[in-house]
Amino acid sequence: MSYPTTWKRPGLIDNPVYRTGMWIAAGLYLVWSLGTLEMDWGRVSQGLPRAADMVSRMFPPDFSRWNLLVNGVIESVEMAVAATFIGMVLAIPLGLCAARNLMPTPVYAVARAIIVLSRTFHEVIIAIFFVKIVGFGPLAGLLTLIVASISFISKMIAEDIENMNMEQVEAVRATGASFPKLLIYAIQPQVLPRYLGVSIYRLDANIRHSTVVGIVGAGGIGMTLSATFKRYDYDFSLAILITIIALVFIGEIFSNWVRGRLR
């Protein structure tokens, strides 16, 4: 076999037939998907001038209705904080039930099913159902964020318990400890740091989501934001967007700081 005289970078897929096949398939997909999407090209082509118009109307951002802004942001943050705390507490039993090495299979299966089901649906879908059930306002948003927090935190707890060191559990069990004592002395010390870390991360995520559940009427700054877009009140929209970016940024810094200290 003769060696090639020039070096070629190896690709992701070695077989040239598969490689060209992939490109052809990707091309066909693009044609198919762009062809079947119902796009109003006339309207889309106006996009650039519209965007320019929107940007010019956004500047300067209008902070004059700051009390509306501050109230919305405070409501969002309060929903996020309260939901994270309630979620943290309620996630413990569900997380324990969803750990394969602690529970009998039927309990495990039911707990996992609850987690999968609530993780599949986007927060906004859950929010709209709570709006139908408890009416407009922050209660619906709070319940939404609680559901999202429980499923996320309990999934992480369950995974952590499944990966923990079983020897410590057996050692404590050998002393004749009951199940609650087993939880406190063998399991809790092993999973607590990660549990706190995940909860803080969830607080950060809840702050992000709390800004959006308002779009379907579930309270928080999202309600105000979506109203400004409907009224073409773009300078106020930009003020809200800037505030959200700042808020999420602060939340992220706080979350990183706490998680750094926990380690």
Binding site: R43, R50, I74, A82, F85, I125, I128, F229, I244, F249
Partner: protein
């Protein structure tokens, strides 16, 4: 040796924390509970609505059953549109996120001003939720899937740019120096020295984000940005709960399948 000194050294009862540590821990726990309770009380909530919530929820569920299966035919097209929005949005992100990641990584960015610009774009993109981005793009492109594609791309940009940028910062410098010592220019160093090392991360995050995007694109229709969300929102508002049940089951199926596909592909790549 006094008894108390002995007691401090060898306490009769084993405790994990010293009294001081215990006090600090209690203070923290109290502070957390206080903040949570205070937030809850300050919220403008009518708790009475919670009293009949279970009745309302049960009512919804009984109205959903049996699902109106005939409706499924009508939502095949919107479901495909949802998947297309997620996929095309991810492709757009893939194209934009690469250069942005190089801009936002400390070791490949040209200077500190470009680094700050790159970082700022990433933070802004990630801070704003997909649905909020959709509001912006609906105002620009009008209602429809185009707005959805750009909303997905705008939010995913920060996610992928951040993860790829972190991978670039952790790249093996030996390889990069070896390429530099051959006299290669900046661009060649990036293409031959850095890019191949982060390629698995790029593919991995792309597939992972695609699977998140499928989930996100199911709600874009709530603000008019295309996909199954339009049908879901109108069915809910018209109280056609048996149709809502079909849509929810369909979304569940699509999300579970996409999660499975994404997990299999990622396992093959890495």
């Amino acid at each position: 040796m006094t008894a108390s000194a002995k007691g401090e050294k060898y306490p009769d009862i084993w405790r994990k924390f010293s009294p001081r540590e215990t006090l600090i821990r209690y203070a923290w726990q109290l502070a957390i509970v206080f903040v949570a309770v205070w937030s809850l009380r300050h919220l403008d909530i009518t708790w009475a609505y919670l009293l009949d919530a279970h009745i309302q929820a049960a009512d919804l569920l009984t109205r959903m059953y049996p699902p109106e299966w005939g409706y499924f035919e009508d939502i095949v097209q919107p479901l495909l549109e949802t998947i297309h929005i997620a996929t095309l949005g991810t492709i757009v992100t893939f194209i934009i996120a690469l250069p942005l990641a190089f801009l936002a990584a400390r070791n490949t960015t040209p200077n500190s001003i470009t680094w700050i610009i790159g970082r700022f774009i990433l933070v802004a993109s990630r801070s704003i939720n997909t649905v909020v981005w959709a509001l912006v793009f609906v105002a620009i492109f009008g209602p429809g899937p185009m707005a959805g594609i750009w909303a997905i791309a705008a939010r995913s940009l920060g996610f992928m740019g951040k993860l790829i940028g972190e991978a670039i910062e952790e790249v093996d410098t030996g390889t990069v120096e070896a390429i530099e010592s051959t006299g290669a220019g900046r661009l060649k160093v990036l293409l031959v020295g850095v890019l191949p090392q982060v390629m698995p991360v790029i593919y991995g995050t792309t597939v992972y984000r695609w699977d998140i995007n499928i989930r996100e694109s199911t709600v874009l229709g709530f603000v008019g940005a295309g996909g199954i969300g339009i049908q879901l929102y109108s069915s809910i508002n018209q109280f056609q709960w048996d149709s809502v049940a079909v849509i929810l089951l369909a979304i569940f199926g699509v999300v579970v399948i996409s999660e499975f596909v994404s997990a299999v592909v990622r396992q093959k790549i890495t």
